[in-house]
Symmetry: C2
Subunit: 348 residues, 2 copies
DNA sequence: GCTTAGCACTCGGCCCCTAAGAGTGCTAAA
DNA sequence: TTTAGCACTCTTAGGGGCCGAGTGCTAAGC
């Protein structure tokens, strides 16, 4: 009759009504409810016939005989592709987002954390914001501060105003003057260099440093490497996990526990969102579309943020597949583009 | 018969058995179960009489007629004061803790985050670690890095090796050389001064700075003030919130949601733990002993950490009142003292 | 040929009842 | 003072019956 991926107008209208109603009510939707509340212009018997066809095509299913229908992942997918992609935020919400990003935020950490809070409150889901990647940044300043004999602190400031610090162990024979000297040389060497290549640059130029400083400088290089390796898992801002527990969004408590657990562990979270993040555009993963075992009952919506030329980071939300996609998708999109704009304007 | 706060041996033994059994089973405990599983040396009828007395004294209660007894908050309180204060960690667990703190961790953030993870896994509760207070620290180094016209980054390193950074807006007329000059003067002014008084010191000496730098220096002072005000809420490490969702630790889902929500919001969390933290020793707050509304079904165990002379921070766990106090209390204590020792050794 | 009214059928949810079981409090005897 | 015995209470589990929502099918209507 129709190809598996397209539906005639009436079936589409019915599917849309089913998803809308199920999302807001949480109850399986019957044919009578549909004709009563949505202007379908046909009788319930016709709707039943169409629903039967929709079930054959895999868009909806019956939890049990004589219950209404519930969307399958494929049903949600059709809904999202057809009616949610181009949805717009309600004017009030859009204003809220614009206001939020209207006031400039100079503290990156705060800004990201607050963005996650905003996103979670807009979507009533758990929200995740990944900090901007560092590939873009260059070294603006290197400082070595002696703390005690044998201990020093490495501080690196990027041109975008991000500050990294890492404790160092150095030989006890190294004094303040030598440290300062080393810092001077490092500044000359890697000023303006990309942050992620700084360690390599130092390592390859180690011969240019005076013998007595080489060990300390090598420590700096490895500290930088380590700093970058860890950065990924540390710079994740998660807010609104309690939304996952809300009411009966998920069927059983065990699922809730697993999802919350997954969100809590940054590594796991990265894995869960990894491939969605890899896509360089807004991505919606519904239930079984997620690779991760624990996310089979979740919808994960992610979007990259950055300037028009380049993506610098990503953010997203995690919620039940039974989610208000027409509200959530534009919210994620809007927050991502506003965050990108703000950070770009700040030169980050 | 007995004063309200003391129990004869047999009543005490029975109360202890009730708490122990209820904590592990989650079911109200009856007289028969008690004589079967605990060597009380008396019949169930006697136990019933004693239980009736314990109920009159407010240590236990019946959820409904013909159900077993469940400890009240007062019952848990008696249990904790009498048998849990001096409990020791199982040897294996103690070893695990010692191993964990055996390897020195130079990154404070990592160390605290990992400590929270350790504590939550040891206790199967949500664990919170507050970062060390800053009162103790003194200024080791001040740096002003120019980022772009009108923008600079303030970096302050404490003697303990903590690094603070705050973005600044400065007049566009200020150039790199002037910034460096300002940093030099600031270094001379507040080197070795307590961190929390640095802002005040700068403000009171503002007249000594050249006119063209005063505005920038004033910005530094207010940035420092701001940094301190925010620090409290930012430096909280929470791990294991998913433990709260576990099984049937809490009666209803709504409680779980509220508790998770409370843990998520740092301000709320601070309030919830504030008075417990104010006590300068291990503190156990059971149910109604907590001021916070949402914590009426929770037990909050906190302990300060630091050196023998001074407390520098605190940590704790949040779980259901139905908690294994004899395991949790020593775990909190042990982790706190090990963390304190480690940080002290690192000179923090 | 599509739509629809009508109808039989299915099945989960709910109420009610009962029986079982756990646990109590009381009493009277040891 | 302790304990055996017993009546009593109240929860929980299970079964039966009813209700209603919802379906699929069929036959009539447009």
């Amino acid at each position: 009759m129709t190809t598996p991926n397209s539906l005639d107008d009436r079936k589409a209208a019915i599917l849309r009504a089913i998803v809308s109603h199920y999302v807001s009510s949480g109850q399986p939707v019957g044919s009578k409810t549909l004709v009563d509340r949505y202007r379908l212009g046909v009788s319930s018997a016709t709707v039943r016939n169409e629903m039967s066809a929709l079930e054959d095509q895999g868009f909806i299913y019956q939890p049990h005989t004589s219950a209404g229908r519930v969307p399958t992942d494929a049903g949600y997918r059709y809904f999202v592709d057809t009616w949610a992609r181009d949805a717009r935020l309600p004017a009030g919400t859009a204003l809220q987002v614009r206001r939020f990003f209207g006031e400039p935020r100079w503290e990156l950490e705060d800004a990201l954390r607050n963005t996650a809070e905003l996103l979670s409150s807009l979507t009533e889901s758990a929200a995740v914001v990944f900090a901007p990647a560092l590939e873009q940044s260059t070294v603006r300043h290197v400082e070595l501060v002696s703390l005690a004999p044998g201990r020093a602190m490495l501080v690196v400031v990027s041109d975008a105003g991000r500050v990294f610090n890492h404790p160092l162990r150095v030989a006890e024979t190294i004094d303040d003057v030598q440290l300062e000297h080393a810092a001077d040389m490092l500044n000359r060497l890697i000023l303006g260099h990309p942050l992620d290549k700084a360690a390599a640059t130092i390592a390859s130029s180690i011969d240019h440093f005076p013998l007595e400083l080489r060990e300390a400088v090598a420590t700096v290089a490895s500290a930088l490497t380590e700093e970058f390796a860890q950065r990924d898992t540390e710079r994740v801002f998660l807010e609104g996990a309690s939304n996952i527990v809300d009411e009966h969004k998920f069927a059983d408590l065990e699922t809730v526990r697993q999802v919350i657990g997954a969100l809590e562990h940054r590594r796991l979270l990265l894995e869960v969102l990894a491939d969605a993040v890899a896509e360089q555009s807004l991505s919606v993963r519904i239930g079984s579309e997620n690779d991760a075992e624990v996310m089979q009952n979740c919808a994960v919506i992610t979007a990259p943020y950055g300037s028009e030329e380049s993506v610098i980071g990503s953010l997203g939300v995690v919620g039940p597949t039974r989610m208000d996609y027409r509200r959530t998708i534009p919210a994620v999109y809007e927050v991502a583009s506003n965050l990108g704009r703000m950070l770009t304007e700040l030169g980050l």
